[in-house]
Structures are given as C-alpha cells and as structure tokens.
Amino acid sequence: MTKQVFRSFASVLAVSASLFATQVWAKSDITIAMQLEPPHLDPTSAAAQAIDSVVYTNIFEGLTRFMGDGSVVPGLAESWEISDDGKVYTFKLHDGVTFHDGNTMDAEDVKFSLDRARSEDSANAQKALFDGIESVEVVDPLTVKVTLSEPNGNFLFNLAWGDAVIVASESIENIKTNPVGTGAFTFGEWVQGDSITLNRNPDYWGDQPALETATFKFISDPTAAFAAMMAEDIDVFDNFPAPENLPQFEADPRFQVLVGSTEGETILSTNNKMPPFDDIMVRQALAHAIDRQAIIDGAMFGYGTPIGTHFAPHNPAYVDLTGNSSYDPKKAAKLLADAGYADGFDTTLHLPPPSYARRGGEIVAAQLAEVGIQAEIINVEWAQWLETVFKGKDFGLTIVSHTEPMDIGIYARPDYYFQYDSTDFQALMDTLNSTTDPEERTRLMGEAQRLISSDYVNGYLFQLAKLGVAKAGVQGLWTNAPTAAIDLTQISWSE
C-alpha cells in the first residue's frame, strides 16, 4: 500500500517535472488557423487550396518545390540534367527517402505518381501541368528519365505544384483520409469540422523541423477569427479574413502582422459568350467604369495592389497595364452608347463568400450603376458558385480571386468558365510553352498580358494581399504566398 502511494507520488513528480521542462525549452507545438477546411487530403485530385495549405511540403513533397520567395528549388530530386534539345529531363533522386509507412521512395514511385496524374482517367485538377510528358522511364531505383514531346521551359516549375507531389501506389487507396507521404510531418488526427493535427516525422530524410506537432484549426467566421486570435487560442492565422482588424493587431505588441502578396488575381470575371458581354466595347466600358482604388480601400481597407491584367505584380515579367482600363465613367458611358446600350442593361453579379467578393461586389455594383449597368447582386456559397458559375457558366459577372501561380494559361482554354476564345492567345501560349530562353519567355508573357488586357476579357481589379497574423514569437512564416502552403519545416518559436 505505502509502496503504491509512493510510486504514484513519484510519477506525479515525474510528470510535473516534464511539464516544467517543456516550459523552459522553446515551445515545440503550434496552432495555425485557416478559414476553409479541406474537403479531403489528396492534393493530386482536387483544386481546393485548403488541401495544399495543410499537406504541401509538410506531408507530401514533389521532385521540386516552391520556397517562400517563389523560387523553385530541388525537392525529392537531388539534381537533374536537361538534354540539349530541352526534351529529356534526367532526375537523380535523394537516397534513403522513405514514406511514412516505411516503404522506400524510389524511381518507381515517381513513375507511378506522374503516370497517375497524366492518365486518361486522372482526377488531377491541374492536368495541363503534365500535358507535354511523353514518357516516364525508370533508369535505376534513384534515376528517372522524363521525356517531353516538346521543350517546356516551365517543366521544373510545374513539378513544384502541390498537384505534382510524389505518392506511393501502396497507400494511394486511402490517401484522402490517411495521407502517406515523404515529408517532415506525418498525418496525426482529423477532427472533422474542427482541426487536423500533424506530428514530426522522426525518420525524415532532410533536416529535422523545430516543431513537434502542428494543429490546423478551421475558423471560417471573421468575428470568431478575431476573437480567437485576441484570446491567444491560436498562434498563427494564415490569411486573416477581416482586413479591417489588422490595425488592431499591428498596435498590439503581442502580435505581428505579415502583409505580403498572393498569386490571387482578383478579377471581375465576365461571361465572354453571354450577350452583351460578347461585345468588346461593352467589356471595355465595364473596365473603364470600375474604380480599382475605391474597391481596394473600401473592400480590403487598403490592402492590395491594382492590376491591369491577369498577372502577379511581384513577378519580374509583370507589365503594368492599369492605364489601359483607367477609371473613366464618361468614357464608359460613351462606349456603352456606341455599342447600342445608351440606356444600359441588366445583368447578374454572383458573389462567393470571401469579403473581397461580397464587399467588392457591392462597390462594383454601385460603380456600374453610375454608367447605367444594373447588376443584380446574388450572394452564393462556394458550392453553389462552383455549380452555377464555374461549371454551369450561367452568370453575367462574378468576382473571384484566381490563386494558382502563373495561371495566365487559363485564357487559352475556350471552355473555361469566362469563355474567352481567342486563337491568337492560344497560339501565343503554345509558343510560350515551347520556349525555354528566359528573355524570350518574358517577352512572350508580356505580350500575353497585353493581349488579354486589350481584349478586356475580364475586369482586372487587384492582387489579393496575404494578411498573416501571428504571435510575436513565431518565426519562419511565409510572408508571401507563391502557392497555397503553410511550410511548417521552417517555423520555430523564438525565446
């Protein structure tokens, strides 16, 4: 009896000692909040950004990867050689990489992943990334040879996407609920509607991360987000949904605010096939009727950079074309009159939930009303937006942020929801894809930007800012978002 009491007393002591110990050393766990919960955890079969935010570089890795500054660096591929004609890429893989289930990652897995992504029945959301691949050959367990049908200057960039991560045939079946990758973190637990926990992978092939566990919490309501942050229930909010609250975080020494840029071109998408928007004069009138700065100030409280084309301003190849669609309501009214709509017309404006769309939409509708265009605001949830607007193409106007990196290529897809069908642009994209010379690529990208700007395909509003909020002691967070990702491997707590 006495012995037993003593023993339990000792264990209590031990526990409190270990509690004490973790307080003395740097914190090794973190709670990161994001607005949307991922539908599942397979980045290779869905477009949902929330999936990449959780798994990219944490659970799954690709042959190459993005860094926080947007550069592409080696990932699972240690090095590569490109043949002189630019068509054959020979990748040398890292030795000793294992999946979380203990299986070795080798050339067979790379072949499996790439073949799966580009197959006929592939559910990959970005199949175009793999279009040019002719064959994938296993040379030896650590060497893979990828042959392209034509040279593709973007190939290494394409492989860095979350959609191109390496998965294993052994664990593919349950990837959506139990993702098994090669990354520095293993999947822990998913409490649906609340959080996902990841744990450090002790067998990771690279440097061990500072964090032991990370919890992703899903908070969609901006008011709840503000309350949770203020109460210090969460350590980081990846992209804070209410820009109006940022000055309060900035003024509070407990927090740091990281204002960066995303790849999100926020645009007033226009149904190019639906009259009257099939008339370029009407689209031009639309572009001149919109005051971008008012939208940035009113909807985003000043956070955001005006854009005049579908391209990220932080990209070196960006061309500032905002002057091409400057705010000029008189010109807009005149263009409308010339197009035969002197009295304006009625249309619809579908607005998904984020505040950039809901608030921006109210401002856009008011600005359009000034030139006689009556846009009926229809607030929709994301599921409804995907159904009616994205798939059904049953809309006049909508506001949405296109957050994929370097996605100007969507304008070459005539069946894409805004239905821009220009053979000139499609030819230009073909040339761009087969060009490897960096200077020539920059020139072609500039030309592409000018073409969609002068065709007034969509109303180009602003580049969405990334508004990160974190406790003061958190280090290593990405300020910008070159792709949807929360790279846990770099994060640590300062003392």
Binding site: E244, Q248, D297, G298, E362, I363, A365, A366, Q367, I378
Partner: protein, 271 residues
Amino acid sequence: MSRNLILGACLSSLVLLAALVSFVWTPYDYAALNIPEKLQPPNAEHLFGTDHFGRDMFSMIMVGARTSIAVALVAVGIGMALGVPLGLAAAARKGSWLDEVIMRGNDLVFAFPSLVIAILITAVFGAGAINAIIAIGIFNIPVFARITRGAALSLWEREFILAARVSGKGAARISVEHILPNVANLLIVQGTIQFSLGILAEAGLSYVGLGAQPPTPSWGRMLADAQTMVSFAPHLALIPGLAIIITVLGLNLLGDGLRDWLDPRIRVARA
C-alpha cells in the same frame, strides 16, 4: 389611455414616419458610396456617422425602416388574409373534418421552429425580400387561425348569433357579419404583436444573409456587416441594433396598450 399605449404609439409612429419620409427625402443618397469618408463616428454632417463604404447611416436607417416595415406588414397581411378565414371556417364547422384538417394543419406548421423553416425556404428558393416575406407570412397563418377560432367558438354560443341563425342567415354570412366584427379587436392586438415579431424575423434573416439583398439597406444586414468592426466603429452595430429595439419595443407597448384599451372587461374594471 394608458402610458404604455401612448409611448408605444409614439415610438411606432416615429419609425413609420422615418420610413414614409424616406420615400421623398433622405439626408443623403442611401446607396451612394463615398469611400474616403468611411467609418465616421456620428457628427453634425452625418447624424449617425458613415458605414464602411462611406454611406450615410441615417439615410440607411430610414430606408431600412421601410424594408423592415414592408416585409413585416406584408407577412402579417398574408397571415391575416389566410389565417382569419381558416379560423372562422373551423369555428363555424366545429368538430367536423374541416375543423380537424385546419387545426391539425396549424399544429403541423407550429411544430417546426419558425426561423429554421424560414431559413430553409429562403435557402431553397433563393435569398431575397419576397421569399423572406413568404417565409415569415406562412408562420403567421396558424397564429391568426387559432386566435380567430378560439374567439369565434365562444361567440357561436351567444344569443345574438342564435337570433341571426333563426332569421335564416347561413354560417358564412354570420361569420362575416357578426363574428368577424367581434373578434376584430383581438386581431388588431395580435396583429401588432406579430408585426413586431415579423420585424425581428426579417432582421434575423437579413443577418444571416437571407433577407433583402444589397444594395437595399436592411437593419439585420447592417448589423452583420458591422460585426468585425465593433471594436473600432461601435456606432455601426449600435445604431441598427437600437433601431430594431425601438421598433419592437414600440410595437409591443402599442399591442399591450391596445389590448387594455380595447378589452371591455379591463375597461370596466378601470371605470
């Protein structure tokens, strides 16, 4: 007249006046954005300040009163127009299958939480003022049907109804000529209460984004929009909130006062 009645009438007419005046005059255009002037606290130029788009809050509250009153009024109208005849019919045919069908139908509607069904209706048929009116209106039907039936049943036992029957009037004619005038005061009182509930329901639906759509101002949506800004622009939430409170309080006081005033028993007791 009681103090309640006077206070209630004053508050209610204040709101009604604001709504009526807004048709011909508001200090500013309620939909005009003026982003450089956003988030001003109440001041001499903008009596209630400006919202996050620089719109004049005073004008928005005035036009919002219009939205609230229109939705609640039509919803109560639907409830009365359908509920009262149903109640009269049920009372006239007491105990028959018609009575059973009507009253069990009422129970069915009553059994569902009204706001949840309202959300369902607006979610299925789309958000908007019209669908909000229908959703709120449906839940007013059984309220009026029950009140009417209850009051009418006791009237059917009275001698003057017997006299009317003896003189050869049919059930329908008796209901309209003799029963209806005698339940009218009850209906007016209940109508006032339902009206205030309708305003609350409209604000609730707008708050979750299912009521009147922008740019039409609505008190509930103004509250929802203000949510993230409460900490630095409290007037954005306080003013529409107070508008709702004043309206609902006014209508409830008015309903209470009217009941006291119209109820003969209480009037006799007072005398």
